[in-house]
C-alpha cells in the first residue's frame, strides 16, 4: 500500500488513483482447508439458507397464521395464554413457591438469577478449558436450566386443548352476521340458546359459534333437543313449531353471513 509521498489521487479528491485488487486473497498457506469467505463459503451458506427458506415457506403455507376473534375485554371466561416461548415463565407462576406470598421469588429472583447468570456466563465460567467436561458446573447449570424450561413448557402446553381452543376462538368478521330480531324464531333462540351461543351466534367459552355450521334444519332441531358434544340434552323446551322456527332462524343467519 502506498503511503505518504508519491500517492496519486483522482482530481482534487482524496480518492486514490491506484485501484484495489478485486481478486480474493490467497488462503492456501492457512492451516487445513481454509477457504475464502467470498465467494466460496458464502455460496455454501446461501445454499443452506435456500433449503431453509423452502422449509420455512412450506411451514407458512401449511399452517396459516392463527387469528382469534377480536379482543373483547368483557369476555371474562377467556383463559389467557402467552406465546409458547413465554409459557415456561407462565407455568412457573402456578407453583406454590413462585406465586402468592412467594410471587417475588417467581417473577424476579428465579428468572433474574437464570437470565443474569446467562448474561454473565463468561465471568462465572472463567476457567481456561473450553471443552464441556472441563467445566462441569457451568454445563450442569445450563443443562438443568434447559431441562426445567423444556419441562415447564411441556407441562404448561399439555394442559391446553389446542384444537378446542382454536375452534372456540375462531374469528368472525363483525359485518357478516345479520341477526333479524323480528324473525319468528328469534324469541326461541333468545330463550334457549343465547346465553351460551351469544347474541350474534358468535359463541362463547361455553359453546361454539353457530355461524358457518353445515347442518340441515332437521339436524339443528335434533341437536337443540338432544344436545351434542358437551351440550347436554333438553336445553330446548318449547313446542315443535317453535323448534322449527328456531332452526329456520339459525339457517337464515347463516345464509346472511355468506
Amino acid at each position: 500500500m502506498h503511503r505518504g509521498k508519491g500517492m496519486k489521487f483522482v482530481g482534487d479528491s482524496r480518492i486514490k488513483a491506484e485501484k484495489t485488487s478485486q481478486i480474493p486473497k490467497d488462503y492456501s498457506e492457512y492451516p487445513g482447508r481454509t477457504e475464502a469467505f467470498w465467494p466460496n463459503f458464502l455460496l455454501k451458506e446461501w445454499l443452506v439458507g435456500a433449503v431453509f427458506l423452502v422449509g420455512f415457506l412450506i411451514l407458512t403455507l401449511a399452517h396459516p397464521s392463527p387469528l382469534e376473534g377480536m379482543a373483547d375485554p368483557t369476555d371474562a371466561a377467556y383463559i389467557p395464554l402467552p406465546d409458547w416461548y413465554f409459557l415456561f415463565l407462565y407455568e412457573l407462576l402456578k407453583y406454590k413457591y413462585a406465586s402468592g406470598d412467594f410471587i417475588l421469588f417467581g417473577i424476579l429472583v428465579l428468572p433474574g438469577l437464570a437470565f443474569g447468570a446467562l448474561l454473565l456466563a463468561p465471568f462465572l465460567d472463567n476457567g481456561p478449558g473450553r471443552r464441556p467436561h472441563q467445566r462441569p458446573i457451568a454445563v450442569g447449570m445450563m443443562l438443568l436450566g434447559l431441562v426445567s424450561v423444556i419441562w415447564l413448557t411441556y407441562t404448561s402446553a399439555s394442559h391446553v386443548n389446542w384444537q378446542e381452543r382454536a375452534e372456540a376462538n375462531k374469528p368472525i368478521p363483525e359485518s357478516s352476521v345479520v341477526v333479524d330480531t323480528e324473525h319468528e324464531g328469534f324469541a326461541a333462540y333468545e330463550a334457549s340458546c343465547m346465553t351460551c351461543h351469544g347474541a350474534e351466534l358468535e359463541g362463547s367459552a361455553a359453546a361454539p359459534t353457530l355461524v358457518g355450521i353445515e347442518y340441515t334444519p332437521e339436524e339443528i332441531a335434533t341437536i337443540a333437543k338432544e344436545g351434542t358434544g358437551s351440550m347436554p340434552a333438553g336445553i330446548f323446551t318449547g313446542s315443535d313449531e317453535e323448534l322449527e322456527q328456531l332452526a329456520d332462524f339459525i339457517i337464515t343467519v347463516n345464509e346472511s353471513a355468506e
Binding site: A76, A77, I79, P80, S99, A205
Partner: protein, 170 residues
C-alpha cells in the same frame, strides 16, 4: 514543560466543551419526548369514581345477587361503557358486601351456587375453583386469593360501587 501542560489542558477544555454542547443538544432533543412517554405515569389517576349500580339498599338480602352496571371509561381518545358485575349481599352484621366475580386464579367469572354440588359457595366453571360466601378461596381448589371486594358507599339508599380491591392470599 509548562507549555506542554497548557496544551493538554487546552485539549481537555475543548473536550469538556464538546461534551457540554453535546449534552445540551441531547437534553434539548430528549426532554419533551421523554416527558411525553412517561406522561401516563405522572397523570393523576381519575379512577376511583363511584358508580350508581341501580340497586336500592333495601333490596339487598343475605342471599348474594348479581348486579350489572356500566361505567364510563375514557381511554385516551377512546370512550367506552364497559359493563361491570358484582355479587352483592348483606353479611351477618348487616353490612353490605360487594364481591368481584373475577376468579383470582385465571380471571374467569364465578357465580353463586354455580354448581349444584357446592351449595352456599361461589363456583368457577373454568377450573372448579370455589369460594366461601365471604369470598375466601377454599383451600385445595386452584385460586390462591379471595375474591376482590368493591369499594362501596350508600347515598340516598342507593348503592354506589367503586374499584375492586384485591385481598391478600389465604
Amino acid at each position: 514543560m509548562s507549555k506542554e501542560k497548557q496544551q493538554v489542558s487546552r485539549r481537555q477544555f475543548l473536550n469538556y466543551s464538546l461534551m457540554g454542547v453535546g449534552g445540551f443538544m441531547a437534553a434539548g432533543l430528549l426532554v419533551s419526548p421523554i416527558r411525553m412517554a412517561i406522561d401516563p405515569v405522572l397523570k393523576k389517576s381519575d379512577s376511583g369514581d363511584y358508580a350508581n349500580v341501580g340497586l336500592s339498599v333495601d333490596d339487598i338480602t343475605t342471599e348474594p345477587q348479581r348486579v350489572d352496571w356500566t361505567v364510563e371509561q375514557v381511554d385516551g381518545w377512546y370512550e367506552s361503557e364497559p359493563s361491570k358485575t358484582a355479587w352483592v349481599y348483606k353479611d351477618d352484621n348487616d353490612e353490605i358486601v360487594a364481591l368481584s366475580p373475577i376468579c383470582t386464579h385465571l380471571g374467569c367469572v364465578v357465580s353463586w351456587e354455580g354448581n349444584e354440588q357446592y351449595p352456599e359457595q361461589f363456583f368457577c366453571p373454568c377450573h372448579d375453583g370455589r369460594y366461601e360466601k365471604d369470598g375466601t378461596n377454599i383451600k385445595g381448589t386452584p385460586p390462591l386469593a379471595p375474591l376482590a371486594v368493591y369499594e362501596q358507599k350508600v347515598e340516598n339508599g342507593i348503592l354506589f360501587l367503586g374499584n375492586a380491591i384485591d385481598r391478600k392470599g389465604a
